[in-house]
C-alpha cells in the first residue's frame, strides 16, 4: 500500500515536472516584449529593454532559465503579473481570486452530488417508469445541448421569470450567485444521475440481491443497505477530483456571469499575454487534477476493501 502510494506520488511528480517544462518552453516562444508592462514598453528604448532582460536573466540560454525556474517554483515564487495587475505577485492574485470560485464550486458540488444521486436512485427504482423517462430526458438535454446554450436559457428564465440578477456582483453576493451555481450544477447533476442509475441497475441484477430478496429483506432495505453502497463505490473515485477542480473555477460559467474568480483569470491572462500568470495557472490546474485523480484512487480503496491497485497498478475504467 505504502509502496504503491509512493510510486503514484512519484509518477505524479514526474508528470507535474513535464507539464512545468512544456509550459515554460512554450511561453519562451513568445516575443520578449511580453515581459514588460505596457507602461514600460512605451517608455523604454531598445537598450533599456535589453538591460532589463539581461538583469532578469531572461537572455540566458533556455536550459539555465529552466533550471532557475524549477528553483523558483520550489521556493513558491511564481513571479509577478505584468499585464493584468501591474507588478503584483501572481500568488497574491490567485489568493484573491480562488476564494470566490471555491465557495461557488463547493456549493455546486454538494448540490450536484445530492440531487444527482437522488435522481439516479429514483430512476433506478422506477426503471422504465415516467420518472426514469423524465430523468433520461434531462440527461440527454444536459449532455447534448452545448453549455453556452443551456446557460443562456437559464439566464433568460432566471432573470426574466425568477428575477435573479443576470450578473454577479460583489455587493449582492447571495442572489447573484444563484444562477452561476445552477449553471455549474446542471451538467454534473446529469453526470452523477447517469452513472448512479447505470450502476444501480447493474447491481440489482446480481445474484446477491436475489438472495437478499429470498431472505425476506424489504425492497427499501435492499436498496439502502446493498445496492446504494455498492453502486456508489465506482463513483467515489471522482469525488475528490470534482471538489479539487472547483478551486480552478469554471472558465465558461464565470466568464458568462462576470464572476471575478479563477476562470476569467486564465482567459484574461492569455488574451493579454501575461506570461507568468498563464504559467502559474496552468501548472495549478495540472497539479490539482493530478492530486484529484490520486486521491480518488485512494478513496476508492478506502470505501471498497476488495479493490487493490497494487497488483495491476491501474484504475478500473
Amino acid at each position: 500500500m505504502f509502496k504503491y502510494t509512493g510510486k503514484r506520488l512519484l509518477q505524479g511528480l514526474v508528470t507535474v515536472l513535464i507539464v512545468v517544462t512544456i509550459v515554460f518552453l512554450l511561453m519562451r516562444m513568445l516575443p520578449t516584449d511580453y515581459y514588460f508592462t505596457e507602461d514600460q514598453l512605451m517608455k523604454f528604448t531598445e537598450e533599456q529593454k535589453n538591460e532589463q532582460l539581461l538583469a532578469a536573466g531572461l537572455l540566458d540560454p533556455i536550459p539555465t532559465q529552466l533550471i532557475r525556474y524549477y528553483g523558483q517554483i520550489l521556493r513558491f515564487d511564481f513571479g509577478e503579473s505584468k499585464r493584468i495587475q501591474n507588478g503584483v505577485p501572481v500568488v497574491k492574485i490567485i489568493e484573491d481570486k480562488f476564494g470566490i470560485s471555491l465557495k461557488m464550486g463547493l456549493i455546486s458540488v454538494v448540490i450536484s452530488v445530492v440531487v444527482g444521486i437522488a435522481m439516479g436512485v429514483a430512476q433506478a427504482r422506477h426503471k422504465d417508469g415516467i420518472i426514469d423517462h423524465i430523468g433520461t430526458g434531462y440527461i440527454v438535454f444536459a449532455n447534448a445541448v452545448p453549455p453556452l446554450v443551456s446557460y443562456s436559457l437559464i439566464l433568460i428564465f432566471g432573470s426574466r421569470v425568477l428575477k435573479f440578477p443576470s450578473m454577479y456582483s460583489s455587493r449582492n453576493v447571495g442572489p447573484s450567485s444563484v444562477l452561476p451555481i445552477v449553471c455549474l450544477s446542471i451538467g454534473s447533476i446529469a453526470w452523477w444521475a447517469l452513472w448512479m442509475r447505470r450502476y444501480m441497475v447493474d447491481e440489482t441484477n446480481k445474484d446477491y440481491i436475489k438472495l437478499a430478496k429470498i431472505k425476506g429483506m424489504s425492497e427499501k432495505e435492499i436498496m439502502r443497505k446493498e445496492v446504494l453502497r455498492n453502486a456508489f463505490v465506482p463513483l467515489a473515485q471522482y469525488l475528490p477530483m470534482s471538489i479539487l477542480t472547483t478551486i480552478g473555477g469554471s472558465i465558461l460559467v464565470e466568464r458568462f456571469f462576470s464572476v471575478p474568480g479563477m476562470g476569467p483569470l486564465l482567459t484574461d491572462a492569455i488574451n493579454k499575454y501575461d506570461v507568468n500568470v498563464v504559467q502559474t495557472v496552468v501548472i495549478l490546474y495540472a497539479v490539482l487534477s493530478i492530486i484529484g485523480i490520486f486521491l480518488g484512487d485512494l478513496l476508492m480503496i478506502a470505501v471498497d476493501p476488495r479493490i487493490t491497485l497494487t497488483d495491476k497498478g491501474g484504475t478500473e475504467e
Binding site: Q11, T15, I18, V19, V23, L26, M29, L30, V140, F141, N143, A144, V145, P146, P147, L148, V149, S152, L153, L155, I156, S159, R160, S166, T245, G248, I251, L252, R255, F256, L266, T267, I270, N271, Y273, V278, V282, Y285, A286, S289, I290, I293, E317
Partner: protein, 316 residues
C-alpha cells in the same frame, strides 16, 4: 506386407500434412459460414426498427441540405453584409427573416453560414479523432510492449484539462479553422484510443484469436477481420458523441474569444455576440440556439441508437 508398409507411409504423410500450415487463400477462409447472416444488414435492420432514430437522422440530413438552400434563397449574401447601425435590432420580418444583429447585419445569412461552419468543423474533427484514435488504440492494445509508452502519453495529456491546451494553442499558434481542427483532433483522439485499447485487450487473447494465430493468420488480418468488428459499435458511439462535444468546445472557446477567428462566423461566435443583447432581443439567441441544439441532440441520440444496433450481441 508391401500393402501394410504403404499404409504406414501414408499415415505418416498424412500426419505431416495435418501439422503443417495450410496455404492461405481468402476464398477458402470465407467458405466456412453458410448462414445468411450479414453484419451490416443486421445493423441496418436493427437501426430501422428504431423510429425515433430514423426520424432524427432524416431531420439532420434535411437540416444540412437546408443550410445550403437557406443561403441561396436568403435576400442577403453573407459575404457582402455591411454593418449599418441604423438597421440594428430589427425584429424578424419579411425583409430580414431572422431580423438583424446589433450592427444591423442580416441575421438569416449569418445563422445558416455559421451552422455550415460548425457542422463542417465537427464532422471533420469527429472523423479525424476517430481514425487516429482507432489506429493508435489498435496498436496500443495489441502490442504489449508499447502499452507503457502510450499509457504515459495518455496520462500526460489527460491530466491537464483539454480546454487549457486549446487556449494555449490559440495563444501561441493563432486562431483559424485549420488550427482549430488540427488541435481538436490532436487532443481529442485520446478517449477513442483508450476505449479501443481496452476492447482490443479483452479480445486479443480470446480462443478464436489464438486459433487464428495458430493457423498463421497475419496480425494485420487478425486486427481487421477478427477484432475490428467487435469495436464498431463503440467507434460509432464515440464518433456520434464527439460531434456534440466538438460543437460545445468550439462554442465555449469562441465565446472566450479563443476559438475561430472573428471573420469565420460559427454558432459559438453568434452566441457570444448575442450574450449582451439577448435579454432584450431574444430572437438573437433563439435561432442559433435551436439549430445548434438540434444538431447536438440529434447526434447524441442517433449515436446511442446506432451503437445498440451495431452491437453484435443485439443481433438475432
Amino acid at each position: 506386407m508391401i500393402d501394410k508398409d504403404l499404409e504406414k507411409n501414408e499415415e505418416i504423410e498424412n500426419e505431416a500434412e495435418l501439422f503443417s500450415f495450410v496455404e492461405y487463400s481468402p476464398e477458402v477462409a470465407e467458405m466456412t459460414g453458410d448462414s445468411e447472416y450479414s453484419y451490416w444488414k443486421s445493423v441496418f435492420q436493427n437501426f430501422i426498427k428504431k423510429k425515433s432514430a430514423v426520424v432524427l437522422s432524416i431531420i439532420f440530413i434535411v437540416l444540412v441540405i437546408f443550410t445550403f438552400i437557406a443561403l441561396s434563397i436568403g435576400k442577403y449574401d453573407y459575404k457582402t453584409l455591411i454593418p449599418d447601425t441604423s438597421k440594428a435590432f430589427i425584429k424578424p420580418n419579411s425583409e430580414y427573416w431572422f431580423g438583424t444583429d446589433n450592427i444591423g447585419r442580416d441575421y438569416w445569412s449569418q445563422v445558416w453560414y455559421a451552422s455550415q461552419v460548425s457542422i463542417k468543423l465537427s464532422i471533420i474533427v469527429g472523423i479525424g479523432q476517430c481514425v487516429i484514435g482507432v489506429l493508435i488504440g489498435l496498436v496500443w492494445g495489441y502490442v504489449k510492449k508499447l502499452d507503457g509508452f502510450f499509457t504515459s502519453i495518455y496520462n500526460l495529456i489527460n491530466n491537464v484539462p483539454r480546454i487549457l491546451y486549446m487556449m494555449l494553442i490559440s495563444l501561441l499558434v493563432g486562431q483559424s479553422f485549420t488550427i482549430m481542427t488540427v488541435s481538436l483532433i490532436a487532443f481529442g483522439w485520446l478517449v477513442m484510443a483508450r476505449n479501443v485499447r481496452n476492447l482490443v485487450m479483452i479480445h486479443r487473447d480470446r480462443e478464436y484469436n489464438l486459433a487464428s494465430r495458430a493457423l498463421g493468420t497475419p496480425t494485420f488480418r487478425i486486427l481487421i477481420k477478427n477484432i475490428f468488428p467487435q469495436l464498431i459499435s463503440v467507434i460509432i458511439l464515440r464518433l456520434a458523441l464527439s460531434i456534440p462535444e466538438t460543437i460545445a468546445m468550439e462554442s465555449t472557446l469562441s465565446y472566450l474569444g479563443l476559438g475561430l477567428g472573428i471573420d469565420t462566423p460559427s454558432l459559438g461566435i453568434l452566441l457570444r455576440n448575442a450574450r449582451n443583447y439577448f435579454l432584450d432581443y431574444p430572437y438573437l439567441l433563439i435561432f442559433p440556439a435551436v439549430i445548434v441544439s438540434t444538431i447536438s441532440v440529434t447526434f447524441y441520440l442517433i449515436g446511442n441508437a446506432f451503437s445498440d444496433a451495431a452491437d453484435p450481441k443485439n443481433h438475432v
